[in-house]
Amino acid sequence: MLILTCPCCGVTGEETEFHAGGEAHLKRFGPGSTDDDFESYLFMRENPKGVHFERWRHVYGCGKWFHAARCTMTLEVFGTYPAQTLAPPQELCDAISAKRPGWSWRAFS
C-alpha cells in the first residue's frame, strides 16, 4: 500500500486516504474536435513500465487533486505537484532523470 505526500496540504498519508484518478495531463477535446482526437482523449492511455504520471485526489483530507510521478515497476514516488499545470515541474523531471536516465513519457522527458 503506497504512501503519498499531498502537495496541497502537506500531509503524508497512506493510500486509503487518497483516490487514484488515472493518467495526468490529459488534454480535453470538446465540440469541434475530430473523432480521432476525441477518441484518444476519452480512451487512449499510456501503460508504461517505468516512469508514469498520474492523478490523485486527497479525498479523505483536503480534497485537492494533485499529480504524482511514480515508477510502475518499483513503485518509487519521484514527487507530487498540484494539478493546476500542463506539465510536470522541471526540477521533478531533473530528479527523475537522475534516477532513470533517458526516461520519457508522452512529450515529457
Binding site: G13, E17, Y60, K64
Partner: protein, 190 residues
C-alpha cells in the same frame, strides 16, 4: 432554537478505556476563499477572534476557533446560537469578494474522546501517526476513521474532538465504543 437536537441527543459511553461523549450543538461555518487575502483575514478575526491558522493546525478555545481545512477552506467554530449572526457578519465583510460562506452546524456531529487511552482509541480507527511527538494540541487532521471521513484536533493532551457527518453519527459513536471496549488498551503511547 428549543427544537434543535444533536444527532444522538448527547449520547455517552463511560465504561471503556476512554469516555466517549457526543458534544452539544456547535456553530460551524465553512469559509472558502483566498486565505491569504485581507478580507478573509478580517472576516475570520471578526468571527473567531483569531488569525487564519497555518496548514494542519487549528486555533480553538472552547466552542470558538478556526480550523485549516484545505488551501482555500477554513472551518469557523462559534457558539451554536450565534451562527446565523456570524454568517451574516462574515458575508458583510466579504461583500464583493469571491468567497463562499455556508452554515454547516447542523450537517455535522461532534464527539469527544477523553482519557489517558484516548490516543489509542483514535489510533485504532485513523491511519495517522498519533504518537505525542507527531500529533499534539494545536494540530488538526482531516482523515478517515474506519470507513468514514472525519476531522479531529486535541482540546488538551488527553482528549480528542472529532467532527463527522451528522448522518454518520451513530456509526461513529458505535465505532468509538468498540474501539474503547474494556480490556482493549494497547499501552503504546504512555
Amino acid at each position: 432554537m428549543s427544537n434543535a437536537v444533536t444527532a444522538l441527543n448527547g449520547a455517552e459511553a463511560r465504561d471503556g478505556i476512554a469516555t466517549i461523549t457526543e458534544v452539544a450543538l456547535q456553530g460551524m461555518i465553512t469559509l472558502r476563499g483566498d486565505l491569504a487575502s485581507k478580507p478573509v483575514a478580517k472576516a475570520v478575526k471578526a468571527a473567531a477572534g483569531v488569525a487564519v491558522p497555518k496548514p494542519g493546525t487549528a486555533a480553538v478555545v472552547g466552542d470558538s476557533g478556526v480550523c485549516w481545512m484545505s488551501p482555500d477552506e477554513l472551518l469557523i467554530l462559534c457558539p451554536y446560537d450565534t451562527v446565523a449572526e456570524t454568517v451574516a457578519q462574515m458575508n458583510d465583510t466579504l461583500a464583493g469578494v469571491h468567497a463562499l460562506v455556508a452554515d454547516v452546524s447542523d450537517a455535522r456531529a461532534s464527539f469527544r474522546v477523553a482519557g489517558p487511552a484516548a490516543r489509542e482509541v483514535m489510533a485504532k480507527l485513523a491511519p495517522v501517526d498519533l504518537h505525542p511527538d507527531a500529533f499534539a494540541p494545536g494540530m488538526f487532521r482531516r482523515t478517515r476513521m474506519a470507513q468514514v471521513p472525519a476531522a479531529f484536533w486535541m482540546p488538551d493532551t488527553d482528549s480528542f474532538q472529532i467532527v463527522c457527518f451528522r448522518s454518520q453519527a451513530q456509526y461513529m459513536f458505535d465505532l468509538l465504543k468498540v474501539a474503547a471496549q474494556k480490556g482493549s488498551g494497547v499501552s503504546v503511547f504512555q
